[in-house]
Every structure is written in C-alpha cells, then in structure tokens.
Amino acid sequence: MSTAHGEQVRILEEHGQETGRGLNWWGMVFFIASEALIFANLIAAFLYLEIRNGGVGWELPVSWIPFFATALLLSSSGFVHMAGSGIRKGNRRNLIIGLTGTIILGAIFLGCQAYEYTNLIVNEHTTISSSIFGSAFFTLTGFHGLHVTIGAIFLLVVLVRSLRGHFTKENHFAVEAAEMYWHFVDVVWVFVFTLVYLVPLFR
C-alpha cells in the first residue's frame, strides 16, 4: 500500500480552507458540542435527583467563596479573549498577558474550589457518600473542576509555546482552541453555579 517514491499527484485548491474556518476549528466546535452534552446530562441527573427528593437537604451553607470564585472565572474570560484577539491582530504582548491572567485566575478558582471542598468535608461532614446531595454536588462541580484543570493545562501549554514565539497572526490555532475551550468551561459554570448556588437562595 505504500506509495512508490516519485509518484506524483495533482493537488487542487486546498480542501477546508475555502470559507475561512479551518478543519481544526470545526473539529473543536463539534468536540465542545459533545462535551456540552456531557454537562447537559449531568445537570439533568442533578435536577432529576433534586426533584425526586423534593429538594430536601438540597442546599449548601451560604458562603461568599463561590461567588468570589465565579467572579474570577467570568473575568478570566475577558483575559482569554484579550489573548485571542491580541494574536489575531499579531499582538504577542497581549497574547502573553492575556494567557497569564487567565491561568492565574483559573488557578485561584481551583484553589477556591479546593478550599470549599475541604471546608465541606472537614467541617460540615458533607462528602460524596454522606448523602445523595453530596453525591450529586461533588460529581457535578468536580466534573466542572476537572474541565477547568484540563483547560488550564491547555492554556499553560499554549503559554509556553507563545513564550517561545510559536504563534503568528496567521498561525495560531492552538490559541483559538484554548480560547474556545475556556469560554465553554465558563459558560458551563454559569449554568452549574445558577443551579447549585443561586436557585437554593430563592427557594
């Protein structure tokens, strides 16, 4: 099946480049769509169990930490946008500042989550096995935390590459992909946060 050396083929206008969006962009879009469905299912399961239990025991002790963390995560979206639009204009300084800012905010968010978890487990004795609420809460937010971690690692790789000058105005798909992923993680958090922290306040 191997090609004999020197055989020649005629190449046409490159596939996938005609309309501006490259192959990888589309791949990322569908990948994120599939990921979004994972969260949709988790949220559905969370709601299903909440309704089945009539909301009994379905809340956390009120604390300002999650609100602070949310503000951080949402503002990190601005930074990652700054990085992305920076490199689209060829501005590497903005790229590096934006990425660094995003990663720092993301790390603080994860720190807040870790603090919240420790507090719950040690002081409130709410664990994944203590009650059905614990199971649902830790799974949903834990899954989101996992995605934030993956996104942060992704951004870190992109940051290292951009420090080495790998990205140009034309050639920066990794930045774009990381940006898309981070925005996705943020949007998911809006839903998760509303469901887990805001709704119980208004009940």
Binding site: R10, A45, L49, I132
Partner: protein
C-alpha cells in the same frame, strides 16, 4: 517545538541509500498507519473477528436453550455469555464494521485524499481494539460483565466493598470501562467523519450531491456525538457508586435506579439508529447500481435519515413503559415512537420505487440488499407493535423483544454489512468474490435467520422471558426453542461459507478490474485497490452520479436532471 522531530521524517527520496524506517517494515506499516483505507480494513477485520466471537457466544446461548432443563452452562456463566453476546455484537461488531466501511469508502466517495484527522482516525481504531480486547479478557478471570447489555442498576451496583481498589466482583467495571474506551473511540471517529464530510468534498460536490452512504454516515456521526455523552455520564455515575460510595442509583439513599434507565436509554435508543442508518446508506448505494437506475427520491431518503436522527432522541422511554411512568409520558413516547415509522417507511417505499422497473442484476450484493429490505420490514413492523403501550406491557422483556432486535440488527444491519462486503470487496482487493458461493451464503443465512428469530416472536407471546437460564419441559416452548437453536447453527454454517468464500476469493478470485459493477459513485473512479493517494487528480462533480456522467457523457445526469 513542532520543528524538533523532523529529522527522520524528511525523507529525501533523491539520495538513494537510506535506512528503512520502522513505518516501512511489515508490522510497522500496520501499526503506524494513518491511511484511511488501511484503517478501514483494520476496522472491518476487527469487527468481523468480534462478530465471530459474538456468534460463538450466541451459539453457546442457543445450545443451552435448545432443550428444556439444559445444563450446558452454569447460570453464572450463562449470564456472562448473554451479556457479552449483546455487548460484543453492538459495540464491537456493528459499530466497528460500519465505521470501517465509512473510513474506507466515504473519503473515496467524496473525492478526498484522506480523512480530516488521520492520526485521530488511527487513535480511534486502536482504542476500539484495546477496548474490545479489554472487555473480552474479562472471561480469562471468569468475571465477564453479567448484567445484560444494558447493565441495569441496581443489579450492576453489586460490589463486595466500596473501596478504591480492585473488588472481587469486577464484572460491571469491565463493561463500564470498556464502553467508555469504545465511546472515546466512537467520538473521535465521528468527529472525523463530520469534519471530513463537511469540509473535504471534491469541488462541485455540494451536500445534496453527496452519495447517500455519506449522508447516513453523517447522521450517524451526529447521533454518536450527541448520544454518547449520556452513556459516559451514566457510566461515570455508576463507577462512582461502585467505587466512591455515592448513591446515585440506590433507592434507599435518595438515589434512583430509574436514573440509570433514563440515562442509558437516552443513549441507547439513538444507538439503535446509529446501528441501522449506515446500513440504510449501504442499501441506498447498492440498489440503484444493480437496478441500473438513479436512486428514487434522493432528497427524501437523505432527509428522512435526518428526521430519524432527530426523532431518535425523543423516544428513549419506550424501553421503560413497564416501570410506571406517568401516563402522559407514556402517551408522548408511544406517539414519538410511532412517528419514527413514517421516515422509515419513506425510505422503504423509495427503495422499492428504485428497483421498480429497473434492469435488475441479481448478483450477491443485490440479493443481500433485497433480503435486507424484507427482513428489516419485519423488524420495523414488530418494532412499531412494541410502541403500543398495552401490548408492550404484555410482551416487554420477553422473547418477542429479542425477535424484534434481531430482525432489525441481524436481518437488517448484518445483511447490509454482508451486502457491503460483497459490493466493495473488489474495491478493497481488486478481485471479485465468488458469486455462486455468495448466493449460497445468502440463502443459507436467510433460511437460518428466519428459522432462528421467527419462532422467538411466538415464544415471547407464549410468555418466555428474555435472558431466562432454562425452562421446564411442560410450557410448550420446546419445539420453538429447538427450531431456533437449529437455525442458529445454520447461520453459523452460513458464516463459515462466507469465510471460505472470502479467503478463497482473496487468493484465487477473478480480477475485477477497476469498476466491476458499472457503478455510479466516485469510489469506483480510481484503481481497485486505490493507490494511497486515492485520486491522481481530484475529480470534479456535476451531479449525483459523477462516475456515471464520466462513463456515459452523452447521457450525463447534469445535462438532464435538475437537482434541488
């Protein structure tokens, strides 16, 4: 970074002496390949291997059930065997074989040189193979999954202890991890298909000039992308229950076993259409070629596939009528299930109209395609019967359901897969399969499958529950079961005939030339087997039958047919 490892890759062809790279040795070529054709063949071979494995499991089941009070297998082993039969056939045979066809044929049909992401493609294949081996290896330690192929909680929750280490009962873990691996594999595969189909079509091949097989692969890929997350979530929750002590599926602690059923079937029902839609595609390719007519109602076939795709997400709870859903939900799911019959019937009528007044050439692929229509019709009709709630109460989880699923998946998908193999074998190898032996294979399979699965309808109506280990002699099920077991053996003979035909044709088959069937679509517009780069020059498409246009320029479609 990316420029670091170029060294050995820049093969300078002009310098003459050069050490052979690993990827050029025989084994190295297979394990490092990123070529869609080679991967397609590997998918097909793997799928067929697991088909044989799953078939042997089926034969064991039928041996156990052939006579009343059978004691061929122990009850524990029997549970493992029927679970693995279903799992193997669905996850390790049908999906791989269909993606194998898709991998091999879709880029050729679209006039592309490869899939969009060749390395991801290889990655998906290896995950599939490892996942399959992983699942089947559970037999080696005697702990194959034993909860049925849909692994209902809370039965599947049974573990010896909630600890973060290997528990004595790993049966369900094998299933959960195995399907997760296969799920990742399917996701990468379908991402690849979707992007390939959207972005890599040859110039002029608009989306409504695409061959119907590509259409159906596209719909299948979307279904996989959007349905598999449900399975992933269900599996993760079950794994957490089993190993981290959460309570998602435990009724006593506020959880709900029905949650598993909802999550599983909201994957499981789209999955059923994932298994059948590409088969529709294969049939829609074969019928026109062997009837010497363009497909009738292209747009309807394509969009009814899309409609089935959408509807398939709204019907999952028809698997759960007997669990006590509110009647409004039952009404909804019964209606949506019945609705699916409409696009399916649209397809069947279009196929019939395609062969109507055609110059039919009854070669083996055509024979299998016609057999598919007949068998799928039976499977579709008794499926629609299952949508009737009161009837479903009576026969749910009986052998009637087994009959239904096998008419659809064996009489439907498996026959279409055989049709596809006979049809594309010349493309894969440049040789023809023996037509006479092929016809024998068809008739033996056809007889065997009806003998096996038709009596199951009656068994179900007589009250034989599915997955039952054995039965006493006085229930009136004896003859029917014996018949089904004999039928299963006959199917086995058919499969052996197919294997003989395959190997014989591979060695001594008649050379087929590039275009043995006088076909219409682009995959035949190149050498058989195709060169690594598929097309010397990317063809340009002006109608739905580009290769026909090229061969018969005076009757070319684009001169006469108006396509919308």
């Amino acid at each position: 970074m990316a420029t670091r490892t170029i060294g050995e890759h820049t093969t300078v062809t002009t310098t003459g002496v050069r050490r052979k790279r690993f990827s050029e040795s025989y084994i190295g070529e297979w394990i490092t390949t990123t070529d869609h054709k080679q991967l397609g063949l590997m998918y097909l071979i793997t799928g067929f291997f697991f088909f044989v494995v799953g078939g042997m499991e089926a034969l064991l089941i039928r041996t156990q059930l052939a006579l009343p009070d059978g004691k061929v297998l122990s009850p524990q082993v029997y549970n493992q065997i029927f679970t693995m039969h279903g799992t193997t056939m669905i996850f390790l045979f049908v999906i791989p074989v269909l993606s194998g066809f898709g991998n091999y044929v879709v880029p050729l049909m679209l006039g592309a040189r490869d899939m969009a992401y060749p390395r991801m493609n290889a990655f998906g294949f290896w995950l599939l193979l490892l996942g399959g081996i992983f699942m089947q290896s559970s037999f080696l330690i005697g702990q194959a999954p034993n909860g049925g192929w849909f692994m209902y909680a809370p039965l599947s929750e049974l573990v010896a202890g909630h600890a973060f280490e290997a528990t004595p009962h790993m049966n369900a873990d094998f299933w959960l991890l195995g399907t997760t691996l296969l799920g990742i594999s399917s996701i990468t595969g379908s991402l690849n298909f979707v992007v390939t189909i959207f972005k890599l079509r040859a110039p002029g091949m608009s989306i409504n000039r695409m061959p119907l097989f590509s259409w159906m692969i596209l719909v299948m890929s979307f279904l996989l992308l959007f349905a598999l997350p449900s399975l992933t979530v269900a599996s993760v929750l079950l794994l957490l229950d089993r190993h981290m002590g959460s309570h998602f599926y435990q009724y006593g602690n506020g959880g709900d076993p029905l949650l598993w059923q909802h999550l599983f079937w909201s994957f499981g029902h789209p999955e059923v259409y994932i298994l059948i839609l590409p088969a529709f595609g294969i049939i829609s390719e074969i019928l026109p070629v062997f009837s010497r007519k363009p497909i009738f109602g292209y747009t309807f076939i394509a969009w009814s596939g899309v409609a089935i795709g959408f509807l398939s997400f709204t019907v999952w709870a028809h698997h759960m009528f007997a669990v006590g859903l509110p009647s409004i939900a039952q009404a909804f799911f019964a209606t949506s299930t019945t609705l699916i019959a409409i696009p399916t019937a649209v397809k069947i009528f279009n196929w019939l109209a395609t062969i109507f007044q055609g110059k039919i050439r009854l070669y083996t692929p055509m024979l299998f395609a016609l057999g598919f229509i007949a068998m799928f019709l039976i499977g579709g009709l008794n499926g629609a019967a299952l949508a009737v709630v009161p009837f479903d109460y009576q026969i749910t989880d009986s052998y009637f359901v087994v009959a239904h699923i096998h008419y659809v998946l064996f009489g439907g998908t498996a026959l279409a897969v055989f049709a596809g193999i006979y049809y594309w074998f010349p493309k894969f190898t440049g040789k023809l399969m023996d037509d006479r032996l092929g016809k024998w294979h068809f008739w033996v399979t056809f007889l065997g499958l009806n003998l096996t699965f038709f009596p199951m309808h009656i068994m179900g109506i007589l009250g034989m529950p599915r997955r039952v280990y054995t039965y006493p002699a006085n229930l009136g099920w004896n003859d029917l079961n014996l018949m089904a077991s004999i039928g299963a053996l006959i199917i086995g003979v058919g499969v052996i005939m197919f294997m003989i035909n395959f190997i014989k044709s591979l060695k001594y088959g008649q050379p087929s030339g590039d275009d043995p069937w006088d076909a219409f679509t682009l995959e035949w517009d190149t050498t058989s087997p195709p060169k690594k780069y598929n097309f010397l020059e990317i063809p340009v498409v002006r109608s739905r039958r580009p290769f026909y246009d090229k061969k018969y320029p005076e009757h070319a479609d684009w001169k006469s047919v108006v396509e919308h």
